[in-house]
């Protein structure tokens, strides 16, 4: 029995505008560019991909199922600039074959710095999912699959039944990512580990003509999935939704591949599609996976170095979270919101200087010419936000 568990990550950051040390206004975000990118990606990816998923779900009459994790930041952008994307997500939700996962509203790394803030952002996101889709997420995924034993324990405390993480070689060892695991000392929470080989075959290698498996066809991929039969329960295919049409352009054939994948997978009588909640309800845990150190799904290192790999990144994050009390003391909704939008992990990803092996991916998504420019810009904004907080606090004291 092999189940295919698709989870797609949907996220758009709010990119900052060029903010100089001489600027003094509170318009930190480049809404023109954000809208442009949101529209572009919607037309290349979200709309055609949602349409395709809807077709597939209807065609297979409940046998094809998928999960999404959509950040609050992305949902807000859709509501504002591309409401038709939201309505297609509603349509998907109504099929009953789509599960929505939980995550931090602002796609933040708050777990590393502030548990209070982390919990607040998860609750914000849950509320939004409940309001929009009427679902209460049971499975949690942390930003960029940042994970260790503590994340698992915390997720369980917050009431989740499952959590997604990277099936990194250095934590799995000889074990297969195709089984279900538990975290040490955490009862009632199951771990879904990403099958990164098969996931990355689609997400990163699909259009690469230099890859020996190119071109990847649906029958070939289905055969790889079939090989799991007998030595695994589930193939967890976790990837950015933007893979479809944006990272892998339409002319690579990615949509056609997906259109034919379900029928090829289901050709084998033992296969099916499950959502993460169904996976944890269906399959038992087969062992314990101890992850004392932080892992993630990024780059070849699968660690935090994409966001915390140099002095600028750790300084920016430290300074940002150091402001938490100051921000919350102001009681100013706008300040709180701006502060939270600055927590989106992308801002720190842009500051990454690991340019020599993973650099290509970083460069492609980077609105800045260099990581230094992004740090300078971020720190200028942070500086302004801090003085806004101070002004509000001083005024309160005087008043």
């Amino acid at each position: 029995m092999a189940s295919v568990c698709f989870y797609f990550q949907v996220h758009q950051p709010s990119r900052l505008r060029r903010y100089s040390v001489f600027d003094n206004d509170r318009n930190y975000f480049d809404d023109y560019k954000n809208e442009q990118i949101c529209r572009k990606v919607a037309h290349k990816c979200y709309l055609p991909a949602n349409r395709l998923m809807l077709d597939l779900i209807r065609r297979f009459d409940g046998r094809f199922r998928i999960a999404y994790s959509i950040t609050g930041a992305a949902m807000e952008q859709f509501e504002r600039w591309m409401p038709e994307v939201m309505s297609t997500f509603h349509a998907l939700n109504e099929t009953g074959c789509v599960e929505f996962l939980s995550e931090t509203y602002f796609h933040s790394l708050s777990f590393l710095y502030s548990r209070d803030e982390f919990a607040e952002q998860i609750r914000l996101h849950q509320k939004k999912i409940k309001n929009l889709f009427g679902q209460t997420p049971r499975v949690f995924r942390n930003t960029e699959l940042v994970y260790n034993n503590d994340v698992a324990a915390f997720a369980r405390e917050m009431g989740f039944d499952g959590i997604c993480c990277e099936g990194a070689d250095h934590v799995l060892g000889y074990r297969s990512p195709n089984y279900i695991y538990t975290a040490p000392g955490v009862k009632g929470l199951k771990l879904l580990t990403k099958n990164y080989r098969l996931s990355d075959d689609i997400a990163f290698r699909f259009g690469n003509r230099g890859w020996e498996e190119w071109p990847l066809t649906a029958p070939k991929f289905a055969q790889w999935v079939n090989q799991v039969n007998g030595n695994g329960f589930t193939v967890n295919l976790f990837m950015d939704y933007e893979t479809l049409g944006e990272h892998q352009w339409e002319d690579t054939g990615i949509f056609e591949f997906l259109r034919h994948l379900p029928e090829e997978i289901l050709r084998h009588p033992d296969n099916d599609f499950l959502t993460p909640s169904q996976v944890i309800d269906t399959h038992p845990a087969m062992g314990e996976m101890d992850v004392p150190h932080m892992i993630s799904w990024a780059d070849i290192e699968r660690d935090l170095s994409a966001w915390l790999g140099n002095a600028m990144q750790s300084n920016a994050l430290y300074e940002l979270y150091r402001m938490e009390n100051l921000v919350k003391e102001t009681g100013d909704e706008e300040i709180l919101r701006d502060w939270r939008m600055l927590q989106t992990s992308d801002h720190f990803y842009y500051m990454c200087t690991k340019w020599f092996s993973d650099g290509d991916v970083h460069k492609y998504f980077n609105p800045y010419d260099s990581p230094y420019d992004s740090y300078i810009n971020f720190m200028n904004v942070l500086d302004n936000l801090r003085s806004r907080c101070r002004r509000v606090c001083e005024a309160t004291v005087k008043g």
Binding site: S20, V21, F22, A311, N315, T353, Y372, D373, Y375, I376
Partner: protein, 434 residues
């Protein structure tokens, strides 16, 4: 392979990047086993008489590198000095001035109807730079008959006529090396005579070496040289092994220092440095701006600083060399190169080697290859000031730039550049029909 190199300046008297590049390249070629006959101008009298200790009874001196510098570094180099008043970066006006001074020394100012003493073996300095360049060509052609070589390599326009003459006489291929063009030196107000010589040299050459793609584009677009004839070879820098201390010993300062180092001339953008300094001082107080170098705009720049009301924050050191350069780098927190036009730009590499982070103008060749540097348009003084403030205010930015930059600068070494130059020589020897 034996190269007749028409070059400039040798240590310790180097006035800029051209001399540094000639020296670095020649040394690396020599170490790779290439023999080099290094021909350079050397004035006989006047202010420049203290040039390299290569005094030789015969004016058309021939001396081995081993004798001059000792050791094996320049063992395969033969120096040939030609009497001439040409110096790098000279303009026709500069030349006339230099000639006037030389004549004064020679006694002409005392009303004597006397030309320069006839110590150059029957030759006189040219009456203007144009004549001098042609005269230099004749001298070079003359001595080239005594030498054997496979390829001729000429650096910047004043040596192109010499390169062409030697090439015509010997039938050997000519490679011209563009360290800067007339457009870099003079903006759009080009000297037609200089431009013509440059163009002639580039077209006569079998191969052209440009110090950056920026320069290659100028060569292709403004001198109409076919792109396939032009190769880019970046300049480099030697790691001299001297380790800079962790903290500046003996210098305790609560003020930050931002450094400008280079000729103070239009091409280097000193006024943009000042304008950015003024902006920085609007938001920061504990910072000083040091301008190291001399040049034709120094007076105007000093006056400008005073007019802007930041005279007390801007220090001028005059021209620095050797240990003084090291010292100023050790004091500096940041180096800024706001060049309007910079074919390559060696100083940022020196700064990085000395653990000083750099801001460089996007209008520089080195910006093409340097990743761990902050880059700005030279005219964008707000952004320049923004970046200066950021480096001074945020230690993590300073340290990340410094660490990565110091590492990155190691990829610029003369051995690599010399290998590329050797490849160009080979191409020049077997030219493909274009």
């Amino acid at each position: 392979m034996k190269v007749l190199m028409l070059g400039w300046e040798f240590p310790p008297f180097i006035s800029g990047g051209l001399g540094t590049a000639c020296y670095g390249l020649t040394r690396a070629l020599s170490q790779m086993g290439t023999e080099v006959i290094f021909v350079l101008p050397k004035p006989i009298t006047g202010v420049h008489a203290t040039h390299v200790k290569m005094a030789h009874p015969h004016a058309l001196g021939r001396i081995s590198g081993k004798d001059v510098f000792g050791g094996s570094e320049l063992a395969r180099v033969i120096f040939r000095t030609l009497p001439s008043m040409m110096t790098p970066y000279q303009t026709p006006q500069d030349y006339e001035e230099a000639l006037r001074k030389a004549r004064q020394l020679a006694g002409e100012s005392f009303g004597l109807e006397l030309d320069l003493p006839d110590i150059a073996g029957g030759d006189h300095y040219g009456r203007d730079l144009y004549q001098e360049v042609q005269r230099y060509a004749k001298l070079a052609a003359w001595i080239s008959r005594e030498e054997e070589f496979d390829v001729i390599h000429a650096h910047d326009w004043m040596t192109y006529p010499a390169g062409m003459a030697v090439s015509a006489l010997s039938g050997k291929p000519l490679v011209v090396h563009i360290h800067s063009t007339e457009f870099d030196r003079s903006g759009e107000h080009v000297n037609q005579m200089v431009y013509d010589i440059e163009r002639q040299g580039m077209h006569a050459a079998d191969k052209v070496i440009a110090v950056s793609h920026l320069t290659k584009n100028i060569v292709v677009n403004r001198y109409a040289v076919p792109a396939e004839k032009v190769e880019v070879v970046y300049n480099a820098i030697d790691r001299d092994g001297s380790v800079v201390g962790f903290v500046n010993p003996g210098i305790s300062k609560d003020e930050k220092i931002v450094l400008f180092l280079g000729r103070i001339t239009m091409q280097k953008g000193p006024e943009y440095f000042l304008a950015a300094a003024k902006k920085v001082l609007e938001v920061m107080d504990n910072v000083k701006f040091v301008m190291a170098g001399s040049g034709d705009m120094i007076r105007r720049t000093i006056e400008m600083a005073a007019e802007m009301g930041i005279g007390h924050k801007v220090l001028f050191t005059g021209f620095l060399r050797g240990k003084d350069v090291d010292r100023v780098f050790q004091m500096a927190d940041l180096f800024v190169m706001p060049s309007v036009s910079e074919p390559f730009g060696l100083v940022p590499l020196e700064a990085l080697r000395n653990d000083v982070p750099v801001i460089i103008s996007k209008q520089s060749g080195v910006a093409e290859v340097l990743t761990h540097a902050l880059k700005v348009d030279f005219w964008d003084i707000n952004e320049m000031a923004n970046k200066i403030v950021a480096v001074l205010r945020h230690p993590p930015l300073h340290s990340t730039l410094r660490e990565h930059g110091n590492f990155e600068v190691r990829k610029f070494n003369w051995t690599t550049s010399a290998q590329q130059v050797m490849e160009v020589y080979r191409m020049a020897q077997s030219p493909v029909a274009v």
